[in-house]
């Protein structure tokens, strides 16, 4: 058995460890961004008393004449076309609903769906009108801040390490064993409850810990970053990945590889 107690250490600010020269301009709601009225107002700002004021807490981004504030941590705002992973908390109770849906979906079930429309109060309507969406079977759910999920062409990834991942735009990440053959006729609503093999479990647990470490170090989540983090973590035992010093080491290596890949 393993038991480790440690004393807390002060967290180093990230910019120091990265050696970045440019410091981000951070603002909180109510801060003045600029008194120059020539700029266009973007998201997260409003005009008041002849100056531009921030309405969210985050970093100021400037593109030519457009100033916006990108919030560091937000509630999820739905956009049409987003992939989301969601849990059923409540359902409409009517006779037809009881007869038809209860066989397929229960309260507490997880589903993957696409946003069809957004209402003015922020509520979204979802659809699962494709065989790739539907009820999710066995796997692990990781909840992260929605601002850390990078927008990409596709959010369903079959990683080469042996598991698949769905990066929901709402911050719900679903890791599951890659299904061996695509079940075309089932349509995704019958859950497979057979035991998952030990090798698959190890891959899934390792991916889960890697995602948690990336999130703790505030790195964007997308298939490449997750994969690089997975490969960087291979020399360590799965349960050691969550130790603070190993987490820092792995994420640092991931960051370097990503920079090399870009440059």
């Amino acid at each position: 058995m393993a038991m480790e107690l440690r004393l807390p250490v002060v967290r180093k600010p990230l910019s120091e460890s990265l050696g970045r020269d440019t410091k981000k301009h951070l603002v909180v709601p109510g801060d003045t961004i600029t008194t120059d009225t020539g700029f266009m107002r973007g998201h997260g700002t409003y005009m008041g008393e002849e100056k531009l004021i921030a309405s969210v807490a985050g970093s100021v981004e400037r593109v030519n004449k457009l100033i916006c504030v990108k919030a560091l941590k937000t509630r999820y705002n739905g956009e049409v076309g987003d992939i989301v992973v969601g849990r059923i908390t409540e359902r409409r109770r009517s006779a037809e609903d009881e007869l038809a849906m209860r066989g397929f979906l229960q309260e507490g079930d997880l589903i993957s769906a696409e946003v069809q429309a957004v209402f003015s109060d922020g509520a979204v309507s979802l659809h699962t009108r494709s065989l790739k969406y539907g009820k999710l079977g066995q796997g692990v759910l990781v909840q992260v801040s929605p601002s850390l999920v990078k927008r990409q062409k596709t959010h369903f990834h079959d990683l080469p390490c042996g598991a698949s991942v769905i990066l929901g735009n709402n911050g719900f990440i679903w890791i599951y064993p890659t299904p061996e053959h695509k079940e075309e006729d089932a349509g995704g609503f019958i859950a497979n409850l057979e035991p998952v093999s030990l090798t698959d479990r190890e891959v899934i647990s390792r991916l889960r810990n890697c995602i948690v470490s990336l999130v703790t170090q505030r790195m964007m989540l997308y298939d490449t970053s997750i994969l690089y983090c997975y490969e960087a973590s291979l020399p360590h035992q799965i349960k050691d990945i969550l130790k603070p010093e190993i987490m820092e080491e792995i994420v640092m290596e991931t960051r370097q590889r990503l920079l090399e890949q870009e440059g």
């Binding site: 058995m1 807390p8 250490v9 849990r87 079930d109 999710l136 692990v140 190890e202």
Partner: protein
């Protein structure tokens, strides 16, 4: 207790994983998550400690005040426990939602300390039948991430280790009235021996096996748990079963043995980390809440 909703498939995945000794975060059935302990975080208490275990965050403050001894135990001081489930921990604790859980935890703490050897209560007596020290132990739940009882017991032990009670003398003058004199030196204080203070080990039954240090998701898959209060020598002071499921007497015995084994390791690790923190001296950098 705070709970999460899980789908059937997720529960099946967790249960099968536990059977194979590979939990969702890669731990084995007897592995704890990383624990962070810091004492002396609240300056206006006699002793305090903060313990973080995964997503569970507990703050304990101990205040020593003078009171009258209880009638049936005139030579001893006593401890009073109070547990506050802050609404910060989980939305279920909003308003009076956390009161039930708070009383349950406080009653468990009273039970495990309800024996002669956990804390030397005679050392808390100032003058028999008249004055004694009462230690008010306040537990604050800051964040709830599963495995509350273990974390609370570790924090209580660390806070009691950190408690410094001022040294007092009782002066009796000719008329017979007693005066209590506080020592001039603020560092002149008595400390409690926490060698026999027990810690709770919670064992959750999941499937056919039991796990130590369950997360919220694992607790949702478990129908029955056993709380075992163990001292550093492996002596069980109290045992309690929670949950609506049933436990086989043989599993209870196995779980108790695991609890004793795990408890001994827990105590020795906690003792060494508390000694290490103490050896850093008063100049150590305090991390506190903003680190």
């Amino acid at each position: 207790m705070a709970s999460v909703a899980l789908s059937e498939a997720e529960k099946v995945y967790i249960v099968h994983g536990v059977q194979e000794d590979l939990r969702v975060d890669g731990r084995g059935c007897e592995d704890y998550r990383c624990v962070e302990v810091e004492t002396d975080v609240v300056s206006n208490t006699s002793g305090s400690a903060r313990v973080k275990l995964g997503h569970t965050d507990i703050l304990v403050g101990v205040k020593a005040e003078m009171g009258t001894p209880k009638l049936e135990k005139p030579n001893e001081g006593y401890l009073e426990f109070f547990v506050d489930c802050s609404a910060n921990a989980t939305p279920e604790f909003e308003g009076r939602g956390g009161d039930d859980l708070g009383t349950e935890i406080a009653n468990t703490l009273y039970r495990i300390f309800n024996n002669k050897s956990s804390v030397d209560l005679k050392a808390l007596c100032i003058s028999p039948r008249e004055h004694c020290w009462v230690l008010y132990v306040d537990v604050l739940l800051l964040e709830c991430g599963g495995n509350l009882f273990d974390t609370i017991s570790i924090a209580v032990k660390a806070a009691l280790f950190n408690t410094r009670i001022p040294r007092v003398r009782v002066l009796e003058d000719e008329e017979g009235s007693k005066d209590i004199e506080l020592s001039d030196d603020p560092y002149d204080c008595i400390r409690l021996s926490v060698e026999n203070v027990p810690c709770i080990v919670t064992l959750c039954k999941i499937g056919y096996r039991h796990v130590v240090d369950a997360t919220l998701q694992e607790e949702a898959c478990s129908l029955a748990s056993l709380l075992v209060a163990v001292t550093s020598k492996g002596v069980v002071t109290c045992m309690r079963k929670v949950g609506k499921g049933s436990l086989d007497p043989e599993s209870i015995f196995e779980m108790m043995e695991t609890g004793k084994r795990v408890g001994k390791v827990l105590h020795s690790s906690l003792q060494s980390i508390l000694q290490k923190e103490e050896s850093l001296g008063p100049k150590r950098q305090k991390v506190g809440f903003l680190g």
